[in-house]
Subunit: 254 residues, 2 copies
């Protein structure tokens, strides 16, 4: 039985709580948060507190707060004997410098309010200050996911940048598509099946093989026509640079 | 009963054939193609020919060839009494200038070999030279899809640009994420659940609401750190421009 205290009340904390509560061999003993209102949502399932002085004993303290707040929260756990762990893709293990036992437990996924993820398929990237603690985190992560990987702080930093491209920038491509539809009174809904299929394709094909469109075909006529049709300067800049980058990725390997 | 002749042997033609064959009130009378090898794959299900002189009579001639070849194929159908229709997002109705009865039947989806799409949910954007022909295309499209929309050539051009953003550029974001993983010896597989979830999110949330990451948080520290970590100049350019564009989309509306 692993005793866990969860620090934070946001999306990551909420979804981790749900995942942990499903497993009888994980004892989620407490949720700690500053925001009383947010904390109230956890109160029916678990002991809660707003006070660092009242934090209970646990094997693992899981910090699921914004990147900027991690170091401060961790400092308040410096006297704890348990393993102190954060859940961020972008923050190094060393950020937990005041904690004798430290680790990282990073679920590589985007979490939204109200949309319950399937943790079994989510990669959980773990790291720890020593072998024994790495073993504890492997055990904890394996209870909720079938996809547990040991990743160093440096590798996690790289994964986080890749995630910015495939998640943040992809979502922004959807946004730009929507802006172009809106400007022309067309329903963005029409593009939703295409968006789903584009993501599905990549589950079996390499992005290189799946690439289609005027840039990879080097179809100058269409590229010029689109450039003339785009009214917004930033839209035109993105169109030109992404097309150039597609040509570069494909030019080198053809 | 609508009699259809299909011209072309690529992905779109193949998937349309499958969809049409499922409906007993569509008579797919023939597939026409120059490529004998590709045509052979159609021969077990339908009459085929490589010769324009042997094209059979039909209500609708559906041209599913590359954009550049549409005008030439259509010219060969100039003596036909049936309705001549292309399936392209990028080509105007007027490209069929030698055909008395003309139209467009554009399934807004990305088609891959071997991956059978669910046509019921695919938007089919139709257009025709007159009301009667529009009615025929509506009838034909409605047999295979629940999502039939009347879209002018101008609107279709805009939709096609939006599709470049949400499909081609999105797939390129996956490619860039993979390049960054490859450079650092990390498996791209780790990002696949994130990619699926990013697309799923947009089925219920607006892209504006779904946007996360350092650019929308105006987290300068992370933006600078990522800029330093990216080794490839084009990766850095894309990172900078997409971040600027995210800030613009969100700055204006906040």
């Amino acid at each position: 039985m692993i005793k866990v205290v969860l620090l934070g009340t946001g999306n990551v904390a909420t979804h981790l709580l749900d995942a942990f509560l499903e497993h009888t061999d994980i004892a989620l003993v407490q949720v700690v948060g500053r925001n009383k209102k947010a904390l109230a949502a956890f109160a029916p399932s678990v002991n809660t507190t707003t006070s660092y002085a009242r934090i209970m004993e646990a094997n693992v303290y899981l910090i699921a707060v914004s990147d900027d707040a991690i170091a401060e929260v961790a400092k308040n756990l410096s006297t704890k004997k348990g393993l102190v762990v954060h859940t961020s893709g972008a923050v190094a293990l060393n950020a937990l410098e005041y904690n004798e036992r430290r680790g990282v437990f990073y679920p590589l996924q985007t979490f939204s309010k109200g949309q319950r993820p399937n943790f079994k398929t989510i990669p959980i990237c773990i790291e720890a200050g020593n072998e024994n603690d790495l073993h504890i985190l492997t055990e904890l992560a394996s209870k909720i996911s079938d996809n547990v990987v040991h990743i160093s702080s440096k590798q996690r930093g790289v994964l986080h940048i890749s995630a910015v491209f495939v998640n943040n920038f992809t979502n922004h491509c959807y946004q730009l598509g929507k802006e172009i539809c809106d400007e022309n009174g067309l329903p963005f809904e029409l593009l939703k099946p295409l968006i789903m299929e584009t993501a599905k394709k990549i589950q079996t094909l390499q992005p290189f093989e799946a690439q289609t469109g005027p840039a990879v075909r080097k179809d100058k006529k269409t590229l010029e026509k689109h450039n003339k049709q785009l009214k917004d300067e930033t839209h035109r800049e993105v169109y030109a640079l992404m097309s150039k980058s597609i040509e570069k990725s494909h030019g080198e390997k053809l």
